[in-house]
Subunit: 326 residues, 2 copies
């Protein structure tokens, strides 16, 4: 049942609309009345209801955040940064976990039902009807660390293709001649772009390379590497599309007593905290999470202020972090 | 500004209150009118606004979840399970990240402002005023994986003391004679209870033991173990208050070429996914996350249905998972 404006009005001896005016603005209220209302609200523990406010302003201070892969520590870190940044601006995060590769209809209706001020989608895919629903309702949408060719969105990520190129050049400079790329899920933009940049450079240098399809999971990196080893040709370097797959690569190599970086080298992607743990000490590409979050928040706030529906692809450069696996 | 009930009313050629009755109940509406309104809503992409509904029912379908330690993979997993369970029931999760040990006042006001149906607090501490605010507003509150002696709450966790006892008995049976406990933050109930159960048994067996204070982080486990090693007395077993500290213990031991489980043994707590990674293969205590989440959801839904403010401490047994570090 809770305390509501009616209770405050009764205790303060004023009308309910006066209470509403004190908290949500509108026609003016005398200072004496304002104080009476605030004292009554304080005594009862009444907090002006955001829902009531949203009926007047037709806006809420909630940002919907859709996420799939919480097993990859990269995403909880992203969640945390968004929560802290939006908190500073008085916004809360409605967290939606989607189990499937594609966002489910029920997830979208929840976001619409709560009249979210904006939506951020991290690692899940979108279908067309989703976009339509958000556009109709003028809800700004950002694809974070994902983009899509098919539809127009605002997306924020790192420059994956340039990173793939830099990693190839770095490994070539280290003397690597034949390389393996372990992909994430094949239909994700991040995995495709990292691969393209990587292979483009190897092709230009006429160096042999091979792709093994995996799934962005530790187990995927581990099993794939066992397969590579069983095929008998250890490449001079592995590039895994994210760090946790690279950890799987390193553990599989360790199990087969293949020395890193002497016999083969390993590079990951993300630079999550664990990449720095002594057991892995992984050379990797740092995704500039803070800058990516800042950029997303900036766009979101400007679209909340005034909706334009503008699209764009923002690519923030990262950097190679050299550690002991290369 | 988005589609609202007014737009739907205009297109359907009915009054706004008729639209409201179709979506939120109240006085009856003819089937013909209902269909007209639904068709107009469909055409415009209108979703009945949860805020409007909450003004009538004075309830929202939002659960506030307060979390601190997303660096420990245990908590993102907890978040995911809550999100999935509550989604089944039509509830969303308002995610609040608190940076400090104690929940901040602004976090509480956000939860109250959004009129959350209930609050779950995982690894942050509570002060008295927080409880008062929730009680006044009849908002059910659950401490998940935490409890407190000072105030009365409903708490759900595993039986930490019994787990600590079982771990001590297990290590004694394995021939361990002197042991080290690496604590989490000293003022957390989980760390205190695990320690108490563990030391109680060692005392009964008149075996020497020592506590090193740490902080539930990988770095904490790693640095503490380096300190233990530098002091020159390697104990026959380490019990770390969570898995990620145990990983730090194992990496520090590996760096000093101290063989596990031959020269010393290591036990963790939580059984996060990584405990099963070949590089660690950690013996640990499994926290029954799913059962703990189910229990929390059950209490929450019954208190949302009818608020009683009942308190209690639910302890769900876990189990020892034996792997290669013992």
């Amino acid at each position: 049942m809770g305390i509501n404006a009616k209770d405050v009005a009764r205790l303060a001896g004023v009308s309910q609309s006066t209470v509403s005016r004190v908290f949500f603005g509108g026609a003016s209220v005398t200072e004496k009345t304002r104080k009476k209302v605030l004292a009554a609200a304080e005594e009862l523990g009444y907090t002006p209801n955001e829902f009531a406010r949203s009926l007047i302003t037709n806006k809420t201070n909630i940002i919907g955040l859709v996420m799939k892969g919480v097993k990859n520590p990269f995403y909880p870190q992203v969640l945390k940064e968004f929560a802290l940044e939006f908190k500073k601006l008085g916004y809360g995060i409605l967290f939606v976990h989607t189990n499937n590769y594609e966002i489910e209809k029920e997830d979208i209706s929840m976001l619409l039902k709560y009249n979210v001020a904006g939506v951020i989608i991290t690692d899940a895919a979108l279908s067309l009807y989703v976009t339509e629903d958000f556009k109709k309702n003028q809800i700004p949408l950002v694809l974070f660390n994902r983009k899509t060719e098919k539809q127009d969105f605002y997306s924020v990520g790192t420059n994956n293709m340039a990173a793939g190129r830099k990693i190839a050049e770095y490994l070539i400079a280290k003397g690597c001649t034949d390389m393996v790329y372990i992909s994430g899920e094949r239909n994700t933009s991040t995995s495709i772009e990292r691969e393209k940049g990587f292979f483009d450079v190897l092709e230009k240098h006429q160096l042999p390379y091979k792709r093994y399809d995996s799934d962005f999971s530790y187990q995927g990196g581990y099993e794939t590497t066992k397969k590579v080893i069983s095929e008998g040709n250890i490449p001079s370097a592995f590039f895994a599309a994210n760090d946790i797959m690279a950890f799987g690569v390193l553990d599989a190599l360790r199990e087969h007593s293949i020395a890193v970086p002497e016999e083969t080298k390993v590079v990951g992607f993300d630079n999550i905290d664990m990449a720095n743990w002594p057991t892995y000490n992984l050379t990797t590409w740092e995704q500039p999470i803070s800058d990516m979050v800042q950029e997303t928040v900036k766009y979101m706030m400007s679209e909340i202020e005034e909706y334009t529906g503008r699209t764009g692809k923002v690519k923030i450069p990262g950097q190679l972090i050299e550690r002991k696996t290369t």
